[in-house]
């Protein structure tokens, strides 16, 4: 099948990839670009393990074509930490034991990253609703809620007054 060149920004760096029009973004991220942090759990956009941030929105990259990312900005779990410092969301997941097997965690955290920009001071119910596109089989979500709360607080504290 004919391939085409796409270019986009991945975690702040310009990248190119040669893709077929039918190639899914998750496959291009994982296989062509070697960023295996985002995972594939269902390929039907239910589980959210493949969640990445595309142009300021959470998307399930198993149902986004790679060509749709052309010219865009993509953030994955690999781009959360900056200058060797964990993002407050990552710190929250570790401190509040918000992960077990770790398979849903990258998608879950990237979703939390976006959710907290949309809603910096959420209630528990808002977190549960805001994270409901991401499935976890290990934690029962209770500590994920705490992790997002932890990150929300820390992010608010970091904001200049």
């Amino acid at each position: 099948m004919a391939k085409q060149q796409i270019s986009f920004t991945l975690n702040g760096e310009a990248v190119d990839a040669l893709v077929e029009p039918r190639h899914l973004l998750i496959h291009v991220l994982r296989e062509a670009l070697g960023q295996t942090g985002s995972h594939i759990g269902c390929e039907t956009s239910h589980c959210g393990a493949c969640t990445v941030d595309l142009n300021g929105r959470s998307v399930k990259s198993c149902t986004v074509l790679a060509v749709q990312a052309d010219g865009g900005e993509v953030l994955t779990v690999e781009g959360l930490a900056k200058n060797g410092e964990l993002h407050p969301v990552q710190e929250g997941f570790m401190q509040e034991h918000g992960l077990q097997c770790g398979f849903c965690t990258p998608g879950m955290m990237v979703r939390a990253y976006r959710f907290l920009q949309d809603n910096p001071d959420p209630t528990e119910a808002q977190i549960r609703a805001g994270m409901s596109g991401n499935l976890c089989r290990c934690t029962g979500y209770q500590n994920i809620v705490k992790a997002v709360m932890y990150a929300a607080k820390k992010l608010r504290e970091q904001q200049p007054a």
């Binding site: 077929e20 039918r22 190639h23 496959h27 994982r30 296989e31 070697g34 960023q35 295996t36 942090g37 985002s38 995972h39 594939i40 759990g41 269902c42 390929e43 039907t44 239910h46 589980c47 393990a49 994955t76 779990v77 690999e78 959360l80 930490a81 964990l86 990552q90 997941f93 570790m94 401190q95 034991h97 992960l99 077990q100 097997c101 770790g102 398979f103 849903c104 965690t105 990258p106 955290m109 977190i127 549960r128 609703a129 994270m131 409901s132 596109g133 991401n134 499935l135 976890c136 089989r137 290990c138 934690t139 029962g140 979500y141 209770q142 500590n143 994920i144 809620v145």
Partner: protein, 806 residues
């Protein structure tokens, strides 16, 4: 016995905290890589020249395969091979042995026996081409009538599923009574139980259907098989909960010496029983790699996962209790039809075709009992794994915890009170159960009373009575379960003839840090943290400085793997024992360094001290260094030990759960208002991890009770095999959990630990059903079949006319 947080003195506790030892809620050692996207799961593995395999699967539940034409698929550029049963026949790999003593078709051999059965595998340059090519393989089928209902499997006119077993009247577990019959398994005193029922003042009987469900870990199953033609070595990266046993099986199947086979379980994205078995995908990928001389990756998609690898449950149980007028149970009788699908690939210890179902007498002092399980074939996928439980324990606990509620309702006795009247008492341990187990320790009344007090049980019952007056539906469910985990004693348990021990090898390095290698394999349980904590408490080496490795058969000692809550009871015991061997050698070295007799030394976490001489002491760090250069005469250098631990008994974790539900009498929706879970898993190694596991287990239990079911239509078509249909709760549906604990250490485990991760799954499911049924108890309802979806509950409401009442 290791001191627990409850029994330690302050100084020891401070020191334990500093080292991150047993009892500390230290953060997990595995988290930094997972939160930075640096986990290494099987689909992350990319080898040079790697090809992809994808299956052609049967659209029919039961059909003859008339012909397979590969030509069009092979003509597609990038397709390297199309493998069918015909190709595997010369290698004698078209069928494989199962863990249950049966055989399973690796690729359909002349007929298919369940929908989505593996018919051919396409091997291609990438996963897109492989998927394209599966569409081009032309298979001609002749449909046969399917057998879907296990209760009709032994009818005279039932379609025969297994042509390959024609004329075989003996199976792996004795006599077969019908072409579709697999085994009869009986336990207990049948005549004595029948007599107890004949004379009993009160008896109850209920048919309990435990639906077919699936563990559905977020990562599906998969492997990368890589055969090195020059060296003759086979390496397989595989999502396996039991890599060492898989190596043994692969060696036996392939004829390669076990030393030439290396199985690596990398990070695993959840298992819950789904990743215990050996699946056709692994076998075909291995064959393809050997034949093509290139690495071959096979990864299931979600539909394949839910449709073909490792269902759980599908138990159709008739339970009966006999009791006196005060509700004291005198006998239990159980008859089960177990749907094992088209091949008996149930993952159980060899001698236990119904697993540990005989734990079905539960937490109660039942003098006489009898259970019988008949396994049957149907046109459904093989499996029968323990979905987050010890072998068939979930089914057993569901049975007894449901039946005791049925009995309470019949006698008009409160559901907490009837449990208190029947509990095995603390003084009765070790307790021999009527069905042959020896429970190690427990204090059931204390656990239940603690829960009743915490939730104000009397107050809840008063509130329920008031609500019933107003026509509102409120239910209170109780479950006081006992699990049996930690398989197992070699005398009882083996898998394919290998005893179910487990192992740990510890090496202390010259500068005092250590590495531990285990026969188990974590799938999220946090082994790298908890085993390190055990070593910290045994040797005084900070858990931060103990590296734990698992899953690579070339480096780890042989072990039976992680399932059935066996890691802490067996692997954890091996860890403590290996550490103690090291400590004994360290004592000898310390005596040599301090020029005293061993008897003059006291062990205090991390150091040996000369009795009565303050300041005369050697730390583990000093001893470790000496182990490599300054040893007693004749002692071999080094400081390491290996332990293969064969447990003397199972462990018996228990708990008391209470659930409060409010049910909308118009929609049938059930709202879990409160769930209080008290668990007793003996010594608690890392309370943070324990609580996390309990949250997870409860949520999986909630999923099973309230929504999960693999549904089949009359044609044997599976109707619920995607995450659109198969219920996995989101953060919105998942209830809020309250947890609590008591500590009753196991007397036979080196550190008193019992295992915990499965208890909340096992215990919560009957608790939910009990709560839902309790909401209708005043209307004479004694049982409602799972799952308790809004529609199913509404059907009961509607039948009772409650939705139209004012």
């Amino acid at each position: 016995m290791t001191a627990t947080a409850e029994t330690m003195n302050d100084e020891l506790q401070t020191q334990t905290e500093k080292l991150g030892g047993v009892g500390c809620s230290r953060k997990r050692k595995e988290d930094p890589r997972f939160i930075q996207g640096k986990g290494n799961y099987v689909d992350d593995i990319k080898l040079p020249g790697m090809l992809f395999g994808d299956f052609v699967r049967s659209p029919f539940a039961h059909a003859r395969v008339k012909s397979i034409n590969k030509d069009k698929a092979l003509a597609l550029p990038g397709v390297r091979a199309v493998i069918t049963a015909e190709d595997l026949k010369p290698l004698n790999l078209h069928w494989m042995p199962t863990l249950a003593g049966d055989v399973q078709a690796v690729l359909a051999d002349e007929k298919v026996a369940f929908q989505h059965q593996e018919v051919a595998m396409v091997i291609a340059d990438d996963r897109y081409i492989a998927a394209d090519a599966t569409e081009l393989v032309e298979v001609e089928y002749e449909e046969l009538p399917p057998l879907v209902d296990p209760l009709k499997a032994m009818d005279a006119d039932a379609p025969v599923i297994r042509d390959d077993l024609a004329g075989k009247t003996e199976g792996a577990h004795g006599k077969r009574l019908h072409a579709n019959h697999i085994f009869t398994w009986e336990v207990g005193d049948k005549d004595g139980t029948d007599r107890a029922f004949e004379g009993a003042p009160v008896t109850v009987k209920e048919f309990l259907k435990y639906p077919r469900v699936h563990p559905c870990p977020l990562e599906t199953c998969g492997c990368v098989a890589s055969f090195d033609k020059v060296r003759g070595d086979l390496t397989v990266y595989m999502t396996s909960q039991a890599p060492h046993v898989v190596r043994t099986v692969v060696s036996m199947l392939s004829g390669l010496p076990e030393s030439k086979v290396r199985i690596v379980s990398p990070d695993i994205g959840g298992g819950f029983g789904n990743k215990v078995g050996v699946y056709p995908g692994y076998v075909v990928a291995i064959v393809a790699s050997i034949v093509l001389g290139r690495p071959v990756k096979w990864i299931e998609d979600r539909i394949e996962n839910l449709s073909t690898t490792a269902f759980a449950r599908d138990y159709h149980m008739t339970g009966e209790l006999a009791a006196d007028k005060n509700g004291k149970i005198t006998a239990l009788r159980v008859n089960v039809i177990a749907d094992h699908g088209a091949f008996d690939a149930c993952a159980d210890p060899t001698k236990f075709p119904a697993g540990l179902f005989s734990i079905c007498t539960g937490s109660y002092d039942i003098p006489t009992a009898y259970a019988r399980v008949d396994g049957v074939y149907t046109n459904k996928a093989p499996g029968g794994v323990a979905y987050r439980c010890s072998f068939r324990v979930t089914e057993a606990v569901y049975l007894v915890e449901r039946m005791i509620d049925v009995l309470a309702q019949k006698l008009g006795i409160d559901k907490a009170e009837i449990r208190l009247r029947n509990f095995i008492q603390p003084a009765q341990f070790p307790y021999p159960s009527a069905l042959g187990w020896e429970y190690d320790s427990g204090n059931y009344p204390a656990a239940l009373k603690k829960v009743m007090e915490a939730v104000d049980y009397e107050g809840l019952r008063r509130e329920q009575a008031e609500k019933r007056q107003r026509g509102e539906l409120m239910g209170i469910g109780i479950c006081t379960f006992t699990e049996i985990v930690g398989a197992g004693p070699k005398k009882n348990c083996d898998i394919l003839g290998v005893g179910m021990f487990d192992s740990c090898e510890i090496r202390v390095h010259p500068t005092g840090s250590a590495i531990a290698r285990m026969g188990t394999i974590s799938q999220g349980q946090g082994h790298q943290t908890t085993y390190a904590q055990i070593i910290a408490s045994e040797l005084g080496i900070a858990s931060e400085e103990v590296q734990v490795e698992e899953g690579d058969t070339s480096t780890a000692p042989y072990g039976l793997g992680t399932y059935g809550s066996r890691s802490t009871p067996v692997g954890g015991a091996a860890t403590a024992q290996a550490a103690r061997k090291i400590r004994e050698k360290a004592r000898k070295i310390a005596a040599h360094l301090l020029e005293v007799s061993e008897d003059d030394l006291d062990w205090e976490l991390g150091k040996f001290k000369v009795k009565g001489v303050p300041g005369q002491e050697k730390t583990m760090k000093e001893i470790a260094w000496a182990a490599y250069n300054d040893l007693p005469e004749g002692m071999e250098p080094g400081l390491e030990a290996v332990e293969y631990y064969d447990p003397p008994n199972f462990t018996y974790p228990f708990g008391a759960y209470l659930c409060v539900v409010d049910i909308d009498r118009h929609t049938g929706e059930t709202h879990v208002r409160r769930f209080y879970a008290l668990d007793d898993c003996g010594t608690r190694i890392n309370p943070m991890i324990i609580e996390g596991q309990i949250h997870g287990g409860l949520t999986e239990g909630f999923a099973v009770a309230m929504g999960q079911e693999l549904v089949f239509d009359e044609g044997g078509n599976i109707l619920g095999n995607s995450l659109l249909d198969y219920f996995v709760p989101t953060a919105v549906e998942a209830p809020h959990w309250e947890t609590d604990y008591t500590v009753t250490p196991s007397p036979h485990h080196p550190i008193g630990a019992k295992g915990v991760a499965e208890s909340p799954h096992v215990g919560s499911i009957p608790c939910f059903t009990n709560a839902v049924v309790d909401a209708f108890a005043h209307k004479g309802v004694t049982h409602m079949q799972m799952p308790h979806t809004a529609f199913n509950v509404w059907k009961t409401i509607h039948r009772l006319g409650l939705d139209t009442q004012d």
